[in-house]
């Protein structure tokens, strides 16, 4: 009896971790390739979730089908943000770091306040027809939306893995590892940057929608999501997609087990303690990859 309950806890923790992993994957891609920390990442995720919410509420399109529309839209928005806002800002190398922080922080503030105006401050739920449908898998009852979250995460990660094997993906990985060498090899980074940001924004939108489906949606949650995504990203290793996934799941499970044993009030402590410990012992993350952080 007890192990069934623990299995339930672990499965749900996996789902929670999966939602955060997806957010971290986009962030790690940008930071790896462009050295830009996108503080507005969580807010882009929330924006995607809000557009899905609109599609659900106004047109009654299911959220996963709505993603087919939202993902390209967020890709375009991400591409536009990179080209018009981020690119000019990071043009001078010695200000790249602070530019990325300030500009993206301003963007985050801007997006969350626009959301406040457009969708008001009320808390929104993405309630779909199968929200309360429970499925029993190996003795563990799980919600249909949560199963969908898990499946979508698996699918998106698989897509990512495939993508990183393509020419474009390899180019991005090359830029992550050593940009000078990549430039010398003839990779045109300008075209790559917009595309990378677009993919990241699209992934963020998916992650945001999954978060909103499982929990709730309000304008101010963007920054919290960004912090969570950054934690997972560092834990998993910057620039490593597999690392971000593994780290998210690992963090989710650890948090769940610790709160089960000790008490739920220490949940944040677990995540940040793990982060600090990993930083002190092995800053490059749990996945064995060297990452060269210039400066």
């Amino acid at each position: 009896m007890a192990w069934e309950i623990i299995a339930e806890v672990i499965v749900r923790a996996l789902v929670e971790g999966a939602a955060y992993s997806l957010l971290a994957v986009g962030l790690t891609l940008i930071f790896g390739a462009m050295r830009v920390l996108n503080i507005a990442h969580g807010d882009l995720a929330v924006l995607g979730a809000y557009i899905c919410y609109w599609l659900l509420v106004i047109f009654h399109i299911d959220v996963f089908i709505g993603l087919l529309f939202v993902v390209p839209l967020m890709f375009l928005i991400g591409w536009g943000v990179q080209k018009f806002i981020i690119n000019p800002a990071v043009s001078i190398p010695q200000f790249q770091v602070q530019a990325s922080y300030i500009i993206t922080y301003g963007l985050a503030l801007f997006i969350s306040n626009q959301e406040l105006i457009a969708w008001t401050a009320d808390y929104r739920s993405l309630t779909v027809a199968y929200s309360y449908l429970s499925i029993s898998v190996l003795g563990v009852t799980i919600n249909a939306p949560r199963l969908a979250v898990l499946s979508v995460t698996v699918i998106v990660s698989a897509l990512y893995m495939l993508f990183l094997r393509t020419r474009l993906g390899r180019a991005i990985r090359a830029c992550t590892q050593d940009r000078e060498a990549a430039l010398l090899m003839g990779i045109n980074f300008n075209k790559l940057a917009g595309f990378t940001f677009g993919i990241s924004a699209a992934t963020a939108a998916v992650g945001g929608m999954l978060f909103a489906l499982t929990y709730t949606l309000y304008p101010a949650v963007g920054l919290q999501l960004t912090i969570k995504a950054v934690t997972v990203m560092i834990f998993g290793g910057i620039g490593s997609v597999g690392g971000a996934l593994a780290a998210g799941l690992l963090l989710g499970i650890t948090e769940a087990l610790v709160t089960f044993v000790v008490g739920a009030t220490y949940k944040d402590l677990v995540a940040f303690m793990l982060l600090v410990i990993i930083l002190l012992i092995r800053p490059t993350g749990i996945v064995r990859k060297e990452f060269f952080l210039p400066k």
Binding site: A2, I5, I6, E8, V9, R12, A13, E16, Y53, V57, N113, L116, T120, A121, D122, Y123, R124, S125, T127, S131, Y132, S134, T141, I142, N143, R146, Y215, T216, Y218, P219, A220, Q224, E255, A256, L257, T259, F260, G263, A264, T265, Y266, K267, D268
Partner: protein, 424 residues
């Protein structure tokens, strides 16, 4: 470059620095000067002021309180104002940033010349504001501040009056009302085969109100024979409750008592249904603070029926301006008002009545009136004790039935029978 030229260049640089400093200083001074010159409150008005979280984390609650407060002020002005003067409301957005509250309230009092103040949202924000009131000897009427610790230091004769702050000595309060209801189980139990089992699982948020109420309630409940099978605190950033719910499943309590912010109640119920966690009586404390609860777009939808919650604005309550509030709010915003709006409106009612009875805006006169007189507001009847707490509030236990909150206890206020055991 010769020495002379170098000296000139560096002097120019420092002149720039100095010029920048002076320019910034002059601009700041000009800004302040213009601000003070253009905003002197006309003394033909009574100014009511405060800060509310209009953006940021608790934006929904802050905006709702603001809506109702503005509604009250507009109505009073339409009816001719108080003592012949119109009311003016000044509300700043504090974005739930605690470090800015003190200076903002000082600005409200000293620069905007506010006469009476209303609290920010929640006690951790109210403490610095109350300190400022104490410094300037001003009166503050509580909006949605339901903790008792501010009253101990600032209440009553020290200028703070909180009418939505029940005290255990006067009545049940947010936590105890359901244990009190179940203590009387035999009196209203209509399912004779159902027996009471005094086990309770208590989940709280780790914030000032939560831990304070818990500390008062726990010894009371234990003395009444309640067995606390689970006593969990959850951080205010938490959204995943699976481990806590798993523990509830293991301990099988009779009563689940969760006092969370509204949106967390939404998340908690969804996860409870998913994990198959249930108990005969499920209390989600703030599920009654908003009519969004049974709205599938904003809350849990119809599955939220059957949940017990504290009923802060019973649908049959007719005191004060409650009818007007219901009608006007529905007309303007399309929904029924609930807890936050009602506390916002009622604080303005108290201010109006107190100023009229005192005949002046002097703090001493107002204090005397507030400590001795009785008030009738849309939220509750009010009689303050010497610590500024309300002796006349009678909280009621409610339950969501058929998409409406029905009062189920105490029996003399009940509009419907409680439906139990809970089954989603």
């Amino acid at each position: 470059m010769s020495e002379v030229e170098k000296a000139k260049i560096t002097r120019r640089k420092y002149l720039k620095y100095g010029g920048a400093v002076v320019a910034v200083g002059v601009a700041a001074a000009a800004g302040y000067g213009i601000y003070e010159a253009t905003k002197p409150p006309v003394k033909k008005e009574i100014v009511i002021g405060g800060t509310l979280p209009l953006t940021g984390i608790c934006a929904m609650d802050g905006q709702r309180i603001l809506r109702a407060t503005e509604l009250a002020v507009n109505r009073i002005n339409e009816e001719g104002g108080v003592l012949g003067k119109k009311l003016r409301l000044i509300v700043y957005d504090d974005t739930m940033a605690a470090e800015k509250i003190g200076p903002l309230y000082e600005k409200l009092i000293a620069t905007d010349k506010v006469d009476i103040l209303i609290t920010p949202y929640g006690a951790p924000m109210a403490f610095p504001a109350l300190t400022v009131c104490e410094k300037y000897d001003k009166i503050m009427i509580a909006g949605f501040v339901a903790s008792t610790s501010p009253a101990q230091r600032f209440g009553g004769k020290n200028g703070f009056f909180a009418h939505c702050m029940p005290r255990p000595t006067y009545s049940s309060f947010y936590y105890s009302i359901f244990t009190d209801m179940l203590n009387d189980f035999d009196k209203w139990n209509y399912k004779k085969e159902f027996t009471l089992d005094k086990t309770v699982a208590s989940i709280n948020e780790n914030q000032l109100w939560g831990i304070e109420q818990h500390e008062i309630w726990k010894p009371m409940a234990e003395k009444q024979g309640w067995n606390m099978v689970l006593d969990e605190f959850v951080d205010i950033t938490a959204v995943e409750f699976s481990s806590t719910l798993a523990k509830i499943k293991l301990t099988k309590p009779f009563l689940i008592l969760a006092e969370f912010f509204f949106f967390r109640c939404v998340i908690l119920l969804k996860q409870m249904i998913e994990q198959g966690v249930s108990a005969p009586f499920v209390v989600l404390g703030e599920a009654g603070t908003s009519y969004d609860w049974i709205d599938p777009e904003k809350g849990v939808g119809p599955v939220g029926n059957g949940i017990f919650t504290i009923n802060l604005f019973p649908k049959d309550y007719r005191g004060g301006d409650s009818e007007y509030l219901r009608a006007k709010y529905k007309e303007l915003y399309g929904t029924i008002p609930s807890a936050h709006e009602v506390t916002g409106y009622s604080s303005i009612e108290i201010i109006r009545d107190a100023v009229e009875k005192a005949g002046s805006l002097e703090s001493d006169a107002l204090r005397k009136v507030l400590l001795t007189e009785e008030f009738d507001t849309c939220f509750t009847r009010v009689k303050f004790d010497k610590e500024g707490c309300n002796t006349l509030w009678e909280p009621t236990a409610g339950q969501w039935q058929n998409n409406v909150i029905e009062t189920v206890w105490p029996p003399k206020r009940a509009t419907a029978k409680p439906i139990y055991p809970y089954s989603p």
